[in-house]
Symmetry: C2
Amino acid sequence: MSRRAQDGRPRAGRSTIYDVARVAGVSVGTVSRVLNGHPVGADSRKAVQRAMAGTGYVPNQHARQLAGARPETVAFLHCAPGDRLLADPNINTLLLDCLRALGDQNIMMITPVAGGGSPDVVSQTLAARLADPVLVFTAPRSSAAITSLVDRDIPVVSCGIPLGHERHVSYVSTDDRDGAQQIVTYLRSRGRRRIATVTAPMDLPGGVQRLAGYRDAVATFDPALVAHGDYTYAGAVTATEQLLRQAPDLDAIFAASDLMAAGVLAACAKAGRRVPDDIAVAGYDDAALALTTRPQLTTVRIPWHRYADQLTRHLLRRIDGDDPSGVVMPVELIIRGSA
Amino acid sequence: MSRRAQDGRPRAGRSTIYDVARVAGVSVGTVSRVLNGHPVGADSRKAVQRAMAGTGYVPNQHARQLAGARPETVAFLHCAPGDRLLADPNINTLLLDCLRALGDQNIMMITPVAGGGSPDVVSQTLAARLADPVLVFTAPRSSAAITSLVDRDIPVVSCGIPLGHERHVSYVSTDDRDGAQQIVTYLRSRGRRRIATVTAPMDLPGGVQRLAGYRDAVATFDPALVAHGDYTYAGAVTATEQLLRQAPDLDAIFAASDLMAAGVLAACAKAGRRVPDDIAVAGYDDAALALTTRPQLTTVRIPWHRYADQLTRHLLRRIDGDDPSGVVMPVELIIRGSA
DNA sequence: TTGTAGGCGTTATCAC
DNA sequence: GTGATAACGCCTACAA
């Protein structure tokens, strides 16, 4: 009932492959072939193309998908509350790179527009509707969202290691542990002895792994030198104040992100500590703002372009039915003025 | 080829309605009925539900859609560059209201994630993939995006009158012309005689209609009293400066949006003109910031909740195959300190 | 190279 | 109420 017949006048659109075949004087098979770039006689091809233009033919995606065609859309799921992450120019670059690469394959990206519901609700809904692969950002440990996708056999590719789902979802990541270790080791090589850290949220991979690298590198682990951040500037300020209170003698702070490092810088300034003289400060990501702080941030560079490349590669693989796989890329120490 | 068979172990998911029917010991018809809430015997229903849970059945959207089921997703297309609009709390409310209402109907909203491509490219792509209705925001005059959707027989519902497409797309709007007329008439009633205006972009409905209302209400039309804004704060500041230069004797400024009115306020302050004593200032929208400016803005209130209600109503109608239709809602003058 | 026919997973229309 | 069975629009062997 829901599809009301159109009144009299001949409407455009809504023509099928059969219509095209008829006006082109060929079989549907041939039409399908030109549609998919399969070998077809030059004349038939031209006839079909003319017919398609004439009838205003637009392929029905649902039918294609049903018939087993390659998915043409990947869903993007951003688990972080708000769109904090998307404000980061680096992540933006990452996303744009992916978009471009996928576009070349004629694949588009969509995202659920989140309403009042929790991200999990959204993803459940998502899972129920699209059988396409899902690209996930900022997936927290054992995310219910991912579980529901995996349970439904929907291929998931995660940006960063999906804690608790390593076996079932593809991922591309960087060697956070090594990066943190490198930077803390560097701080030690510069004579710093009381090195503190402002962590990322501990339910995110950046939280656990960068802290692990920190522990690897420090001589002895002092809980008073650890404060938990939440990837925000304000959170880092608070964390730093706490650190300064707990361990007034600290001589270095490693923040698990550049944005947080900026917060650390601000807090140090407010506390009257000079950077890097009194306190060395290091960040992570080599985000754009690493260059705009005073002093500029010593940090760990993530290879964003390669990252995007790997992401699309994995996405495409999952589309082609491959099993989940992960890759961890090496990372590079960038030394600037802050440490 | 693209669907590689899964290895040995029994996988969950991907079970069909046939599987469910088999384990439930009923026909697919019955399964479909419980799926869609059609009348079914209590015992069969229970058996089916048990079977669905057991097999981890998830309906295939593509198949449903192909078979003519009601679409379960509407696409959201925001034509404005950047996400300027979404920063507006009112618009956000609008969107959330829609989301909630659609959610009640079990309909989700998705949006293409825009890459480097122009909005038109995005919408073309969109048009080629989804046959679902599209909700459009900020559609400029004769938008190519809308044309391509309409040409493909994809139902479009516009937020605001879609200039150049009035006959082919549904829309809900408010009586901008009347609102502008009301507010300018009010300004005149307060003794203002040289009333200027900062318009919205002239390719958007708010641009042409609010200016039309202004012209309706002023005694004589003086081009020197008109400056074009672009819905931004900064643009309004510039426009106001221009106005002040062109017509130093003006005694009132009607801005086509509250955000722009805030810019007008700032420019007036900078120019040393007192509001409302020297210059009366009026806005439009009754946005949240209308209450935070000094003085608070006299403005035109748009009934956001009713707006959202109408929007979903029209969306639902189009889903049910109804022809395009539009509605224009009345608007209310809100008098505060600025004029 | 091209046509034919079967199948993809649901919904809806029939009879029963 | 329930079970067959045609669509729905496309893809892809298979045959010619």
